[in-house]
Symmetry: C2
């Protein structure tokens, strides 16, 4: 298990000593994408692989060895997302997706937050990569984690599934949306289902959570009970939405050829959510 | 119930029409603090009260009337937090604390995010106050919601409580900390309890969530089972921590004079968490 070493981050001398440790390892990346070996493990190099001018990010300590990632300012096109990353996530060894995801979120955040949002001046990395500081106005800035609710509404043993225009053919998933300031998770679930599908819900139940590093979401999966089943679909958000009975969800999750929809991939929390609902 | 009007935000003409509606109301504030009437309700004025140069924030529609708040750039000292706000939260009519909290989080966010974090240039308000846009580099910026876990570890029918140096005398509460990139909620709970108290936990259970607008947290309350009860307190975070048996928690929550600690205030989710644990 990774110890994030949070208590060391404020100590630049301790971080420098970790970076100078011959056992220290640096995450090898292709741009912002992971490099995997043939068994799906992340590939690590030595600290000598750090680029000139790179900022080091302490990911933590594992097996007594410091683990770092690097951010090379200006080296990324943060807007580009390769297709390879979603294939890679499905191949990654358990536990390593979260480690990589944290590194990816931080690198992306540094790339898009080089200036102070309060005063506009250039900022500097601090806290071993877990923050930035403005030398002009002294503001501190911390990496974002954006909570997102993803939810199944249920009604008489059917659940509501929807598809976005960008989904592959026949793919349906759970509805989702960002939590806004001033909302509890339960309120965000109710609002999103009302806005996107026109249904009112009660009894919102938490199911599971998962980080999702595109760029820095925290997915929170819930189930809620719909008051009725009349849909008013917001077509700016969804291409389609429909109620699917339990047998149809089971067939879809089992990959049956005549199933009503193609389910979300295994690594997505929506998949966990469907499985949890089937098992409940 | 407030309809946030999310689907209208991208339509400047619709927002202008709402702002020109004679029934529209503007949240009256004292700096960033709420103004309450004698029954604990938020006080609203007409749109004519909007300051010159103010940016309008659409809070939503209630009873068919548009409800707005305003941000007056540069008029706030965002670093100042009055003592009145915590008294006010305890007095507020149900449902209004969240409405006010959302407005407060947004106003504070605008005040501290006038510049583009990507390129350093001044940004403009968009989406009826729910975002900013950079005219120089076209980056879009959205208000932050920072997830925080707050949790009780339990061990043999006792729970772990701690106090920060800034707490009033005898106050103890649940331990808490920000969720980091790359973590699930459950992992953040386990990490924080390990870092702050030196205990390992299993079986993290979700209890409740609540927005906390200082400046823009989303509190997520959990209970976890501790593997053992030996404490190693991180004194940079906590002044003290201790295990309290069920009877002691009940006495504290009931305000008994000989109770082991003073509990967190009613409006804090930590209070909800203690009550939920006692009721479980």
């Amino acid at each position: 298990m990774l110890d994030r070493g949070d208590n060391l981050r404020a100590d630049p001398a301790a971080i420098a000593a970790l970076a100078a440790d011959p056992a220290a390892r640096l995450l090898r990346l292709d741009g912002i994408d992971p490099v995997l070996d043939e068994t799906g493990h992340l590939v690590w190099g030595g600290m000598a692989e750090a680029a000139d001018g790179a900022d080091l990010i302490l990911l933590g300590l594992a097996d007594g060895r410091p683990h770092f990632a690097q951010h090379v300012p200006g080296a990324l096109d943060a807007a580009t997302r390769s297709a390879w990353i979603f294939k890679a996530i499905g191949m990654m060894a358990p536990g390593e997706a979260a480690l990589y995801g944290g590194a990816r979120s931080l690198i992306d955040w540094h790339e898009r937050h080089g200036f102070c949002a309060r005063c506009g001046q250039p900022t500097l990395v601090q806290r071993a990569g877990w923050g930035r500081r403005c030398p002009a106005c002294e503001a501190e800035h911390f990496p974002r984690v954006d909570p997102v609710v993803i939810m199944l509404a249920e009604h008489e043993d059917r659940v509501l599934v929807g598809r976005q225009p960008r989904f592959p053919p026949r793919r349906y998933s759970a509805l989702a949306g960002f939590v806004e300031p001033g909302e509890a998770l339960e309120e965000a679930v109710a609002r999103e289902l009302w806005e996107e599908a026109g249904i009112r819900v009660r009894d919102v139940r938490y199911v599971a959570s998962q980080p999702w590093p595109f760029p820095s979401s925290l997915m929170v999966a819930c189930v809620a009970t719909a008051e009725d089943d009349a849909l008013t679909i917001d077509h700016t958000e969804l291409e389609d939405a429909m109620w699917v009975p339990r047998a149809g969800v089971a067939a879809s999750m089992a990959g049956a050829p005549d199933a009503p929809f193609l389910p979300p991939p295994d690594y997505a929390i929506a998949n966990t959510l469907f499985r949890a609902w089937l098992g409940a």
